[in-house]
Symmetry: C2
Subunit: 394 residues, 2 copies
């Protein structure tokens, strides 16, 4: 295991869901407040830069968002950066935060993500989300995100025999996990069975309503610092020991494969190499399950199983909380919710909670090494981070 | 003068203007190609990260832009980041590029900016640009950007006696400079006089058509590296020796002053301190003249003159090409054009050309130290960089 690049000393996450009457800035503040309140020895004046992921100014007709969050959080004098990488916006923000710490120019940085989506109609949201696909080759031909992932799902079914029941299991698992996470959009929904998934209405075959992630409002924050400063301000520390990023053509038509995301494979290899670990070392992972098929493909691209065996991996129960590699203990995008700009940092928050033993009823015993996998669009971007709990490092 | 943080080895800039039938990705490629072609010893495979400023996905109904530019430029395996900070988007991208070089994680990074605007109606563009102001406190009350800057202009006129003629001089100067810059949107327009500015139609009094910057398409690129690697690939090197960033409330109503941008003053002070120079040391500057009053206020905020004396500074001719501190030799946003996401890097490109003696007919003799000043919105963000020509350093 290699040296940490940066360390997380606190996390905060807003309620995910339909937050009626709350704007992005208010939701962001909720996450920020929780993050800061958890570390009373830390002063907000120590934050010198903020990297904030947000996908689109279209949701609130508001660009130039970073200074708004700085003002709303009382962060005077802080350098603010908004980062956009579609649904991987705050995964990218986290990576930039790590780079900023590595530069030596900043000792403490805030990393966050936010999106406010539920005040618009589903068709408007679908149209805005489609801007993460290619305008010229995809959008104008009417491809929505469910349709893009349906193409991948049918290709995976044809090539590997992956079944609708296996996909449904992803939904069942993630809903069960979300029901143990009070912040989750679907907290309190406790009756998601395979039959319920399979009989839900078709969105883009083979993807049905319960195969799709949620349109949610939400925000997430964390504080990064240098490893040598971390313990001064928090007893709960998680180190980031590797990151990797990959890209591919934005349009599916130019991809080498429909059954795997090249960007994810590149990102994962780089992150594992930097961390000096292998997929077998990962104890808990948050992966980008924007659709159930995406989680199955992620198992394969991240090396949790061989190509084509993702469906069987969940069928064997390996990615459930009591399996060998629990995935999306938070509930994932599927059931925790997917306020797109917030998702990357929210994944990191869950790993922080798991590696510091603070994940409540969904805690995985002896979780030492965690991984997050955040995908932009249909896979033109992917960002992987690898974490180790402070008490297990060194 | 302090140690360089990073060094620019090449720049490229597309034609600025109404580029009919060209999309952002094609315009970006034009700038990238020029940047790369200028350094034959350099291979694009050496680029490992790209920081690209772009303000809004609304112009082309396209977010998730970074991977598009990577693909279009053949930049496989490169980490791509889109940065948004309204009209300071690529100033922020440049700063992140410098941070990335300082981190030691990257040896060569591409920094760019782009916007495609002219295919939309002026009212649609005005509406999109308004997203750089506050939705809740400004946009819904009908404040457009000309109106916001008109409020600053009238405040400046009242407090300091600044005149419409002084503002008009900014336009006259910048148009004259643009007429020596073949890449400028207004290249070839050679009859902009004070009378022409004063008699042009009122947009938001006291700002008239010729007080306003242009709606343009355009892109700009540069390659950053570590100072110690720079001369291997280019004889023309410009070092970045300081940067500074400042923020303020996004809405004017919460500002301490209407006649000065606090964000610019903070950014300038930080940049001067980091560079170890004073305003008097600056030989040539590109400042954010989105409106003529903005250039006058910039003179004051950057310390080129005392508060309230900006109008007199240009009246004395000091910021013309033959003055003591030539400003916006490129033509500025006013006459080179203002494809918003491209502006910050385009400013850096002009300074690179000036400090390497490659600015053609608009070359300033003996220019050693340069400064760029990039503002987001009405001043919620400002980013200043300070540069020294390689032959003058050390």
């Amino acid at each position: 295991m290699n040296k940490p690049l940066a360390s997380i000393i606190s996390v905060g996450i807003s309620k995910f869901g339909k937050l009626i009457g709350k704007s992005a800035r208010e939701i962001f503040y909720d996450a920020f407040r929780e993050c800061i309140d958890a570390i009373p020895k830390f002063s907000v004046d120590m934050i010198k830069a903020a990297f904030i992921g947000q996908m689109s100014g279209m949701f609130e007709h508001q660009e130039h968002n970073a200074p708004i969050y700085l003002e709303w959080c009382g962060l005077n004098g802080v350098d603010g950066f908004r980062v956009e990488c579609a649904c991987a916006s705050s995964g990218a923000a986290l990576k930039l935060g790590v780079i900023a710490i590595a530069s030596g120019l900043y000792d403490f940085v805030l990393v966050g993500g936010v999106e406010k989506m539920t005040h618009l109609s589903t068709s408007d949201v679908t149209d805005i989300l489609a801007t993460a696909s290619d305008y010229f080759f995809e959008q104008i031909n009417g491809l929505t995100f469910p349709a893009l992932y349906a193409l991948m799902a049918t290709a995976h079914m044809k090539k590997y025999g992956t079944t609708q029941e296996q996909m449904a299991l992803v939904s069942v698992k993630n809903h069960a996990n979300a029901n143990l996470n009070p912040k989750a959009h679907m907290y309190g929904v406790d009756n998601v069975t395979i039959d319920k998934v399979l009989s839900s209405r078709v969105i883009a075959w083979p993807l049905k309503l319960y195969d799709c992630s949620l349109i949610s409002d939400g925000a997430a924050c964390l504080i990064l610092t240098k490893p040598e400063l971390a313990y001064r301000y928090s007893d709960d520390v998680v180190h980031i020991i590797g990151f990797g990023q990959g890209h591919d053509s934005i349009s599916l038509i130019n991809r080498e494969s429909l059954t795997s995301l090249k960007a994810s494979k590149i990102a994962a290899k780089r992150a594992y190499d930097m961390a000096g670990i292998s997929p077998m070392d990962v104890d808990v992972a948050e992966v980008h399950d924007c659709f159930t098929i995406a989680e199955i493909i992620a198992y394969e691209d991240l090396g949790f199983c061989n190509p084509g065996e993702g469906g069987k991996l969940i069928e064997r129960g390996e990615t459930f909380r009591d399996g060998s590699i629990p995935v999306n203990t938070s509930g994932g995008l599927k059931a925790k919710g997917h306020p797109v700009g917030a998702t990357g940092v929210a994944q990191a928050c869950e790993i922080f909670l798991q590696l510091t033993g603070k994940a409540g009823l969904r805690q995985i015993d002896e979780a030492k090494i965690g991984l997050t996998h955040n995908v932009g669009g249909s896979g033109a971007s992917a960002i992987v981070h690898i974490y180790v709990g402070g008490e297990f490092y060194g």
